[in-house]
């Protein structure tokens, strides 16, 4: 996950271009959240840095200090490879050397995701068992709003947070929540409970106390201890612990005690003295230890429905332009006909308008309309820049970052915690039919994060969504396959013979079969749920 919000370039050793991972180091054993420090020096301005774990994209930065926070407790234990790539504004991509890391976490949450709507499924593996586990949900003020717990005999924890607080009231939409799953062995916990009790009896100097527990009178406790010491035989006095200072010398008193959070209480009851250090697995919990934790931040999306499709294209002159124009008219008709089957308000946005983008004013108009609550899908046919972060005409464009800001879809840090994507206006479907559109940050701008597995959509029962874009340069003119590909894709996906239940994946496969040459050199990228149908 990226951190920081200002652009920097870090020189490496003067050799251009180069990118390398400074930390961690090769073959290091790591656990919890680790900082991945990167240095990059490239010929042109740095556009972004991507982080790959086992060849899969797990994070990217397009501005700010080049440092990733990677929570290793979201991946399986064992050997993993890590490398970064730096992309400059000319779309040159340089890879670092690959390092190998050994992940060792006693508690792991493998299918963690950062977005949810109704509930958050929690599927955790723990090497500590039999064990007590507790789930703590905090809001952005650090207030624990929900706690629930259980036990596991085999280290498998299958539960979920239903999106309500301790009073069974649904928590607010469009807000961030931090989830921590703490696990502690039962045998260790029992021992710790005893230890904790004796501490409470013997030491009034503790600066923290359990919520609801009456603090012992320090003078009474001291008197009892003194009496026990005085009455003890000499041989016992020899092994008795040194007497603590009398209460008058203790700097804190019961009127200044700080209440423990539920998480701190759980961890102290299970023998972990500093609960804060294990939140987000910041400290190495260690495989086979007696306690451990994992967690993450999640964003609760507001309820939303699929809605109308925005159709936009750039003007093209000549005969090919006429073909494109006619195709857009046909596509509009297909969507209008489909609306009869899939439900109301699923037609073409703007009273069946087709936005023809000729000027920067047209682009502004389009951008503003994308923020309209009724617009939930987009087919854009036009130009993309070299790195896939700008779409538009040959003279004006829409930046992914600006669009994300307008729609309210971007990464946001939890207070003192990890980053998560927030989505004020996610889209159901976006197809940016232009050069390199699958390479940049438009998926995130439309609330369809690249770093999300299709499995997570299924596990979290999230509203399905998908983004499509080309992974390279495409040419739109006669005798080139890309426009044919797009036409076939749409005609297949909206084929009423198939009752509008054909999946995006099947429609793409059909287009690939019609025009295999289109995707041989330039891949079509899909992020999100490939099982999306027009009826979803």
């Amino acid at each position: 996950m990226p951190t920081g919000f200002f652009r920097v370039q870090i020189p490496t050793n003067g050799t251009l271009p180069a990118v390398r991972i400074f930390s961690p180091t090769n073959n290091q054993i790591v656990s919890g959240t680790i900082a991945v420090g990167v240095g990059a020096q490239i010929t042109n301005q740095l556009q972004g840095v991507n982080l790959y774990l086992d060849d899969a994209l797990v994070g990217f930065i397009d501005s700010g200090g080049i440092k990733f926070d990677l929570d290793t407790s979201h991946f399986a234990n064992g050997s993993h490879t890590l490398y970064v790539t730096a992309v400059d504004t000319a779309n040159n991509e340089v890879s670092s050397s690959t390092i190998t890391l050994d992940f060792e976490n006693s508690v792991r949450w493998l299918d963690a995701d950062t977005l949810f709507q109704s509930f958050v499924p929690i599927s955790v593996e723990s090497d500590i068992f039999p064990a007590d586990w507790s789930v703590f949900v905090e809001d952005t003020n650090g207030v624990t709003i929900r706690t629930f717990s259980g036990t596991t005999l085999d280290g498998i924890i299958q539960t979920s947070w239903d999106g309500t607080d301790d009073s069974s009231v649904a928590v607010a939409d469009e807000a961030l929540y931090k989830i921590t799953i703490a696990v502690a062995s039962q045998s260790f916990g029992n021992f710790s409970m005893m230890s904790s009790s004796s501490l409470a009896e013997s030491s009034s100097a503790s600066s923290v106390n359990n919520v609801g527990q009456v603090a012992p009178d320090p003078m009474t406790a001291y008197s009892e201890l003194l009496e026990n010491y005085s009455n003890a035989p000499d041989n016992i006095k020899m092994i008795y612990p040194p007497l603590p200072p009398p209460p008058s010398l203790v700097t804190e008193n019961s009127t200044t005690v700080k209440e423990m959070s539920p998480l701190e209480t759980f961890m102290s009851q299970h023998g972990t003295s500093n609960a804060r250090t294990v939140m987000f697995a910041d400290s190495p919990s260690g495989s086979g230890g007696s306690s451990g934790s994992t967690g993450g931040a999640v964003w609760r999306e507001a309820p939303w429905n699929s809605a109308q499709t925005v159709l936009a294209r750039v003007p093209i002159s000549g005969a090919f332009g006429t073909v494109v124009q006619n195709f857009f008219l046909q596509l509009r008709d297909l969507i209008v006909v489909a609306e009869d089957t899939v439900g109301n308000n699923r037609g073409v946005f703007g009273n069946n308008s087709i936005y023809v983008l000729q000027s920067s004013g047209d682009l502004s108009d389009l951008t503003n309309n994308l923020a309209n609550p009724n617009a939930r899908a987009l087919y854009f046919y036009g130009h993309g820049n070299t790195n896939g972060n700008v779409i538009g005409t040959t003279t004006a464009g829409i930046r992914a970052k600006d669009l994300g800001a307008l729609l309210g879809n971007s990464y946001k840090p939890f207070k003192n915690g990890p980053l998560t994507i927030i989505t004020h206006k996610p889209f159901s479907f976006v197809f940016l039919d232009g050069c390199n559109t699958g390479l940049g940050n438009f998926p995130e701008a439309f609330g369809i994060p690249k770093v999300a597995t299709s499995q997570s959509y299924e596990n979290y029962h999230k509203h399905k969504r998908a983004f499509m874009g080309w992974g390279g340069v495409v040419t739109f003119q006669f005798s080139t396959p890309n426009f044919d590909w797009s036409q076939k894709f749409w005609s297949k996906w909206l084929d009423d013979t198939e009752a509008y239940i054909i999946s995006l994946h099947d429609a793409v496969e059909a287009a690939n079969q019609y025009r295999p040459s289109a995707t041989n050199s330039t891949p079509m990228m899909i992020y999100g749920s490939q099982s999306l149908t027009w009826t979803d």
């Binding site: 899939v342 439900g343 009752a499 994946h505 079969q513």
Partner: protein, 221 residues
């Protein structure tokens, strides 16, 4: 008006003839219908095991213009839909689906419809384990070999409605990626990974959906 009526009557009586020419008609009779019959026989869809042209609601054949072959789709009157892929003289069924409309358009559905969909799940007789076994049976019956694929992944279908209302459906989706697909590629945006997908019904244990992606015609490798 009379002409229009005549055309409509003809469409009603001979929908197949109205939608395709002789070449398409031959493809329908010689390829699509026999292959659909064989497919249904294999997976035990016996209700309409011998569909003839009279059972074809719609069909369409799109020939490639850069090589011999085509893609085609056929929808039967019982709402079975088959997609066909032909390269030169080799043909396969590359998708099959039964249309299930029960969870269409739940965004603004009335409470009664939501309740009906929720009730549907009560008819579910399967769980992840038994559904996987069932899907694996269909997988073999359709000629695939387990050793050519990674272990399958299964999840129960679901629906999402308005105001965070959601629920499970009595259907299970299973996917098999071919052995040569890297784990990291599965969510990397690549659209050409060889795989097989299925959905089975927890209500009557039938095959609801089947597709094969980026596999050679008629084989796993």
């Amino acid at each position: 008006m009379k002409i229009v009526t005549t055309v409509l009557m003809a469409l009603l009586l001979f929908p197949v003839l109205a939608l395709g020419g002789e070449k398409e008609e031959a493809y329908l009779k010689e390829k699509m219908i026999p292959m659909a019959q064989e497919f249904m026989k294999r997976v035990g869809l016996t209700g309409d095991s011998q569909p003839g042209t009279n059972k074809v609601l719609k069909h369409k054949v799109d020939y490639f213009d850069d090589r011999p072959g085509c893609l085609a789709v056929m929808r039967l009157t019982n709402d079975y839909i088959f997609s066909f892929h032909t390269e030169k003289n080799q043909t396969e069924i590359w998708t099959f689906r039964q249309i299930i409309k029960t969870y269409y358009a739940l965004d603004d559905a009335p409470k009664e419809k939501i309740d009906a969909v929720k009730a549907l799940n009560l008819k579910n007789k399967l769980n992840d384990k038994t559904a996987l076994k069932l899907a694996e049976k269909y997988f073999k019956l359709l000629g695939h070999k387990e050793e050519n694929f990674h272990p399958p992944r299964i999840h129960q279908s679901y629906w999402v409605g308005k105001n965070d209302v959601w629920g499970n459906l009595p259907y299970y989706e299973v996917e098999w990626y071919r052995k040569d697909v890297k784990e990291s590629d599965r969510n990397s945006g690549i659209t050409t990974l060889p795989e097989v997908n299925m959905t089975v019904s927890g209500i009557d244990s039938s095959l609801l959906y089947y597709s094969r992606h980026s596999l050679p015609i008629g084989s796993d490798f």
